[in-house]
Symmetry: C2
Subunit: 334 residues, 2 copies
């Protein structure tokens, strides 16, 4: 009896909210390793919002297949290799999926340099979908400058919490985070150094934005979309930038997305709404990783991790992400 | 008995479609000219889409007042002046309003240099809301480059017809105009040199875009919004630019604007949606006017004018603009 892979696979595509019924748990024996591939023992998986979009039929990310593991980025250790350039014991990062073991073409894996940061940090502050996404969104797309007022939605999440801190490190003097619940508000202002927080579940976002940004908003880093984007659009300054990183409020409702009704404010204020995905900056990952690692070492950039355990809990943890029941980076220890 | 001003004033703000009932015709004697002001005999008024937005309660343009003339840009001749720098006989451009005579602070007026172009051209190819708007939208906001595919909505209108031609003059090799009706399609391709036209009233815009721009769209110059913007968003290239100039389809429905549902394509394609108003480029009008005048002289830029007559017809001509019953620049000879 060989090594057994334990995994969560997709049974049916969720309609609207993701349900544990959409998935099932399976075990399968791992066969011979194909040439050019590596066998990886999965350590941690990052639970990212993009995972939800892979479950939809018309996904712009590489879609999840019915009967297959769910796409998720993770870190792990190479157990066996038939790929030049990786050997047993190497720590790697890549699209390992919702399983305990992953057989992947070696070229899909990135060997981690643990002298820069330990494995989990490569999913968090230095992660592709977190640190690097926040870095390029704030610096290149948002072009945040000293003295500016920056608003971040989903601010207690992995990307948002880093985006707000990076904005501050780039000189923004008024960094306002929008998140759900008083705990998250405290987390933003007391642990992460945001100037102020708005609890969208208990406060009037529009009125709070008026109070906290009376002169308007220079940059909005948006991971939410929906009515919050409309509230911000009403308050943007001339020459402001809206960074479209994602729209988690819309991912469970892609059939009838709420388009930003107030987008004509872009014309009035000569403002820009610019979208991006981190892979558009793939030639500059090293630069960003060096800067992010330095900020982490100096204690200037904080990434809180929330670690859940057990591959069988993948569906429940994905639900937790979608309903915002977490702080910082949500990880699953497989 | 002094000189009489004949004008159209606003009686009530239109709800939805503009109606002739929203206006009335009045005559009033013109009083003494205040210090610093000029009396102008209005020649032609430009009938622009922004006029419709001034009729709404929450207008971002200077709103029309109940009982007052409707804001409209026009050209005219100074009859009397108590302003240094303008004398009787000068031709001027400015916010003259829906009336035969206008008393305005002299500083609001621009003296026209008729050696560059005759008066009407200052409302058309060189007009603030037409030529200059198209020029900066295509060149500065859209950043159209040689070889690109450019789509223009409301393409048979004043701004759109110039925007498409300027895109071609800047080297775009595939310029697609969207307009309503077969006459307008012929106008675009046969008179204005557009590569192709889409008749949105009789053709499937999405299917036609697929056929005419099989490799996607680099720049969209949008004056319409609504479903056409959504159709284009589905077909934008990476690093494409969407220029938000206006949204005439939404101006009669500002209470429930159709926001662009497919705006998340901006993130997928690293695309930009940027709005502007011409006055954001006020320090560069002279440059644009020089270039536009040269193109007009060389016959490279064509501006068709449709001239209606009589100040009392202002409401009807505004309706004509809103329903697209015109080609090129709609003018009212007062």
């Amino acid at each position: 009896m060989g090594l057994v892979n334990r995994k969560i696979v997709l049974v049916e595509r969720p309609k609207g909210r993701v349900s544990v019924e959409n998935f099932t748990y399976v075990e399968e024996e791992i066969g011979d390793l194909p040439d050019g591939c590596v066998l990886i023992e999965v350590g941690h998986l990052g639970i990212d919002a993009f995972i939800r979009t892979t479950l939809n039929e018309d996904s712009f990310h590489q879609g999840a297949q019915i009967g297959g593991a769910i796409p998720a980025l993770g870190v792990g250790v190479v157990l066996d290799s038939r790929f030049d350039g990786l050997v047993a014991g190497d720590h790697v990062f890549g699209p390992l999926g919702s399983q305990t073991h992953s057989v992947m073409p070696g070229g899909f894996m990135r060997k981690l340099d643990l002298s820069i940061a330990p494995p989990n940090v490569w999913l968090g502050a230095l992660g592709l979908t977190t640190g690097l996404t926040a870095y390029f969104g704030i610096i290149e797309v948002g072009r945040v400058k000293a003295g500016e007022t920056v608003v971040v939605s989903a601010a207690a999440g992995a990307v948002g919490s880093l985006a707000g801190q990076i904005a501050r490190l780039r000189g923004a003097t008024n960094v306002i985070g929008i998140a759900g619940g008083p705990d998250k508000s405290r987390f933003l202002t007391e642990e992460l150094g945001f100037t102020a927080a708005i609890d969208y579940k208990n406060e009037d976002v529009a009125a709070r934005l008026d109070a906290l940004a009376p002169n308007g908003i220079d940059v909005f880093f948006d991971n939410v979309g929906g009515s919050i984007l409309d509230d911000v659009l009403m308050r943007i300054k001339e020459f402001s930038r809206i960074v479209i990183c994602g729209a988690i409020s819309q991912y469970e409702n892609m059939e009838s997305v709420h388009g930003p009704r107030n987008y004509l404010k872009l014309a009035e204020r000569h403002a820009t709404m610019e979208g991006y995905a981190v892979f558009h900056f793939s030639d500059r990952y090293a630069e960003a990783e060096t800067q992010l690692a330095e900020w982490v070492r100096n204690g200037e950039l904080v990434m809180r991790e929330q670690i859940e355990r057990g591959v069988e809990n993948f569906p429940r943890v994905l639900q937790m992400l979608m309903t915002g029941g977490h702080h910082g980076k949500l990880l699953l220890a497989v």
